[in-house]
């Protein structure tokens, strides 16, 4: 198990990477409230351990194993934060601070239980950024809710949102997030777990995406599409 400090770094790099750029020393130093030289040192260590790819002056990017940890922590943060705010009625800032502390000690079963309690939250308090999907081995949320916490098995591969495919890239549906009706609507149109989809086009300004599935072309609104997660060949 990596240390809390490592988790914090990975989480911060993830946040910056998600914005589409490499994490630079100064930015990380600001986010984590530490001095730039110690950031540089830490980045070198993380590179040695295989969590990030770091090039001086260019910044850091997460590797697959780093990404896996970062996603997990970011998810736990988001879930705990929602719990503290939605249920315990803490102020946003207070909830955020507290979540930063609790995210490292929250177990996987507790995470799943909280997710069910909160009605499978999809957006974090922070600017409605999506909470990453869980790593439970299920094909949708209803299944998860219907099984005992002790039965929870882990996924081997990390699925990513269909919206993050590149134009022309192919993925296989692994998980659909959301309520019964949404899942049904998508699967009736052929978006079932195991089905192969190709991203054809993506509308600007956060508009819908166009995909090809089972020989038909579909446009799916961004919100709906963000609930569909796929696995790709490159594993990323």
């Amino acid at each position: 198990m990596e240390s809390e400090n490592v988790q914090e770094y990975l989480e911060a790099i993830y946040t910056i990477n998600e914005g589409g750029k490499s994490a630079e020393t100064v930015e990380l130093a600001n986010m984590l409230n530490v001095k730039p030289p110690s950031v540089t040192e830490m980045l070198k260590r993380l590179t040695e351990e295989g969590y990030v790819d770091y090039e001086p002056y260019k910044g850091a990017k997460l590797t697959e194993s780093g990404l896996r940890i970062a996603v997990k922590i970011t998810r736990k943060h988001g879930i705990v934060e929602r719990f503290l705010h939605d249920i315990l009625k803490l102020e946003r800032e207070e909830a955020h601070q507290q979540a930063c502390l609790m995210e490292h000690s929250l177990g996987d079963k507790a995470e799943a239980a909280l997710c069910r309690l909160l009605g499978r939250p999809e957006k974090s308090l922070n600017n409605d950024k999506p909470i990453p999907p869980c790593d439970v081995q299920v094909s949708n949320c209803i299944e998860c809710e219907e099984m005992a916490l002790n039965d929870i098995k882990k996924r081997i591969r990390r699925p990513k949102a269909i919206t993050s495919l590149k134009r022309g890239q192919v993925g296989v549906i692994a998980f659909i997030r959301g309520g019964r009706q949404g899942v049904k609507r998508l699967s009736d149109l052929g978006l079932t777990v195991g089905a192969q989809v190709t991203l054809l086009n993506s509308a600007p300004f956060g508009g819908p995406i166009e995909i090809s599935v089972r020989g038909s072309k579909l446009a799916i609104g961004r919100g709906l599409a963000n609930k569909v997660f796929v696995e790709t060949n490159d594993g990323l």
Binding site: D188, G190, N201, I220
Partner: protein, 654 residues
């Protein structure tokens, strides 16, 4: 005596497969379009005579599955199980075979007598695929008739097959081919449990095949569950146990396993009966497709197409509208010279004829070109691209991309816009869209805003009112979005391939939609007109003016006479200004109204009520209850806002 032989057939299938085209081709002018009892889902019925048979055809809504998540699916399922049509014609798109077969398989499970119209064979060929009809027939065990509905190809054969299916059933001929349907099976672990469940269901007196019931129970279908459990509560436990077992085996819910396996079956059938001969060529359509739905060029093309559409609608509309109005005016003058100012004539003319004229001159000149335009956009496949590109903007008012066309159109005339909201697929989305279109200032309202506020108070104020109205639409849109029950639906639609719309289909579509509107709207407009004219002739208007003055004078700070102009504005919005001029005895409004009064008058006119024709359209689309509610709400809302604006401006504007 020869007995009339009636055959009842229903058209069922996915959306955009050409179901309506087949329906129109079959029934021609003998059709009736209404709503399903108690539902706002359109029901189209028609009749044709073929070889001595009277064939009643019903066009079921386009759906992708037979669960009960949407009203359309409920309606279809109920119709097939309760009305028991003699044959269901399942129309499927040959170019998207796998997805369409998913629905076909569900129909087969219901054991309804059926046949398949394998439509759009030409599009499939264009895609470079060859479908073996014989093989497909063998696989599915039901008659398959290849058709190209837009060209009328294959329809006679379709009718002949309907008769065959009917005759066979009447004569009690058991299916000759021992159907390959037996092959349409799920995995062993599902089939075993279906069998177990069936044994509990066979003695139940339900109008469904027991296999279908068993599958639906495993799929966790709420309607079937309550139906079965009412008769046999103990089945509940068994179903739960079986669903659990499936979950244990697959690690997935039974419903998902069944959906996935059904698609699996569809996929296998496609593999056996379809061959890709030539890989699809990068033809003109593909390039056009890429160009028209991507980024900058996409928006450029869209602006061009939409502007062209509106320009042609309004050029044609304005010209024709004026022409017709002048024509009627000269008829009236001629009539008046004959009948004089006889009260009866006055009543007849102003009460009845003017109403019809209003309907004809305001609405039709705009509605006809609009319907033609919409039909072309829809049939060519371009509408889907517009929805794709504009989805992000429509989200801001709680709608999705498909609402863009009606919303834009509303700036011209609310009436076709309301009718155009039919393209929204869920009732919730349709209600929001229709409501919001009635708040958009139409061309007539714009004339008033410009002619009064713009001319006397200043163009900035007129523009300000417009911005104010848009803000209200955004706020109310978000409000209704939260208020209305039901899950908001994200956009999910098919992107059809581009194709050339045909003149015949366009004319047919336009005609049927137009007919529907005329029959419903014109009577309402006439009634409204009769009421108003009667009030006028009876001398009741001054009394109403007095009653209204509580609001108009006290709260809105307007002269009491405007009450009457507001009443006439219900008939047509332009009348608010025209009547005002004639009531005030001058068209120089600066001499009778203060600047503030003009602004308040503008605000109220812009929002206070949909005009009679729009109300009629609302009734048609949303039913009486909603139409009355929306009208009442807008009236109250406009009065409230008008008063507030008046109070707010009291110290700034004289």
């Amino acid at each position: 005596m020869i007995e009339e032989k009636h055959i009842k057939v229903a058209l069922a299938g996915n959306a955009n497969v050409g179901k309506s085209v087949i329906f129109n081709e079959l029934t021609g002018l003998h059709q009736h379009i209404g709503n399903w009892p108690g539902k706002t889902v359109e029901k189209a019925e028609g009749t044709l005579i073929f070889r001595g048979f009277v064939v009643d055809v019903i066009d079921l809504p386009g759906i992708y599955s037979l669960s009960t998540f949407s009203i359309e699916e409920q309606v279809t399922r109920q119709y097939i199980t309760e009305q028991k049509p003699d044959a269901v014609i399942n129309v499927i798109d040959a170019a998207v075979l796998e997805r369409n077969l998913f629905f076909t398989l569900q129909l087969i499970e219901m054991k309804t007598p059926m046949l398949v119209a394998l439509n759009q064979m030409d599009m499939a060929e264009k895609k470079g695929v060859k479908i073996s009809v014989d093989e497909l027939e063998k696989q599915l065990g039901i008659p398959i008739i290849p058709t190209i509905a837009v060209k009328g190809i294959g329809l006679t054969r379709l009718l002949e097959t309907i008769i065959e299916v009917y005759d066979k059933r009447k004569n009690g001929v058991k299916e000759t081919k021992k159907i390959a349907v037996e092959d349409i099976k799920y995995g062993r672990e599902i089939e075993e449990r279906v069998l177990i469940l069936e044994s509990y269901l066979t003695e139940l007196e339900l109008p469904y095949p027991s296999r279908w019931l068993a599958i639906k129970l495993l799929e966790d279908d709420p309607e079937i569950k309550s139906l079965v459990y009412k008769l046999k509560p103990q089945v509940d436990e068994i179903v739960k146990a079986l669903i659990n077992e499936i979950f244990e085996i697959h690690g997935e819910s039974a419903s998902n396993v069944i959906t996935a396996e059904r698609y699996g079956v569809a996929h296998r059938i496609v593999e056996r009966s379809m061959k890709i001969i030539t890989p699809p060529r990068v033809g003109l359509e593909v390039r056009l497709d890429a160009l028209s739905s991507r980024g900058f060029p996409g928006y450029l093309i869209m602006v061009g197409v939409v502007s062209l559409l509106f320009f042609s609608i309004f050029t044609f509309g304005d010209y024709t509208s004026e022409l017709l109005y002048d024509l009627f005016l000269s008829i009236r003058t001629a009539m008046e010279s004959v009948f004089g100012t006889n009260v009866l004539f006055q009543f007849f003319w102003y009460g009845i004829i003017e109403g019809v004229i209003a309907g004809i001159t305001i609405a039709l000149p705009y509605i006809i070109p609009f319907y033609i335009g919409l039909s072309v956009l829809e049939d060519s496949g371009y509408l889907a691209r517009i929805a794709f590109l504009m989805d992000f903007a429509m989200h801001k008012i709680g709608l999705h991309g498909k609402a863009f066309i009606p919303m834009m159109l509303s700036f011209g005339c609310n009436v076709p816009a309301c009718l155009g909201c039919r393209i929204m697929e869920s009732k919730r989305e349709k209600t929001i869209a229709t409501f919001l279109t009635t708040l958009v200032p139409c061309a007539a309202t714009t004339t008033i805003i410009l002619g009064l506020v713009g001319k006397y108070v200043g163009l900035t104020w007129a523009l300000g009112l417009y911005v104010f109205d848009l803000a209200i639409i955004i706020i109310l849109g978000r409000f209704v979005f939260r208020l209305l029950p039901g899950e908001p639906m994200g956009l999910i639609m098919e992107i059809p391939s581009y194709r050339m719309p045909t003149l015949k289909i366009t004319v047919q579509k336009t005609w049927f939609k137009l007919k529907g509107f005329v029959f419903q709207a014109v009577p309402l407009i006439v009634i409204g007109n009769i009421v108003l004219t009667s009030l006028d002739l009876l001398g009741a208007l001054p009394i109403i003016e007095q009653v209204f003055s509580l609001i108009t004078v006290r709260w809105l700070g307007l002269p009491s006479i405007v009450g009457i102009s507001f009443i006439f504005g219900v008939l047509r919005k332009e009348l608010t200004l025209i009547m005002l001029a004639s009531l005030m005895g001058t068209s120089n409004f600066a001499s009778v109204l203060t600047l503030r009064q003009m602004i308040v008058y503008g605000v109220v006119t812009m929002l206070y009520i949909p005009c009679m024709a729009t109300i009629a359209a609302l009734v048609r689309e949303l039913g009486y209850k909603n139409a009355i509610f929306i009208t009442a709400f807008e009236l109250a809302f406009a009065i409230l806002l008008g008063g507030l604006v008046n109070l707010l401006l009291i110290s700034f504007v004289p």
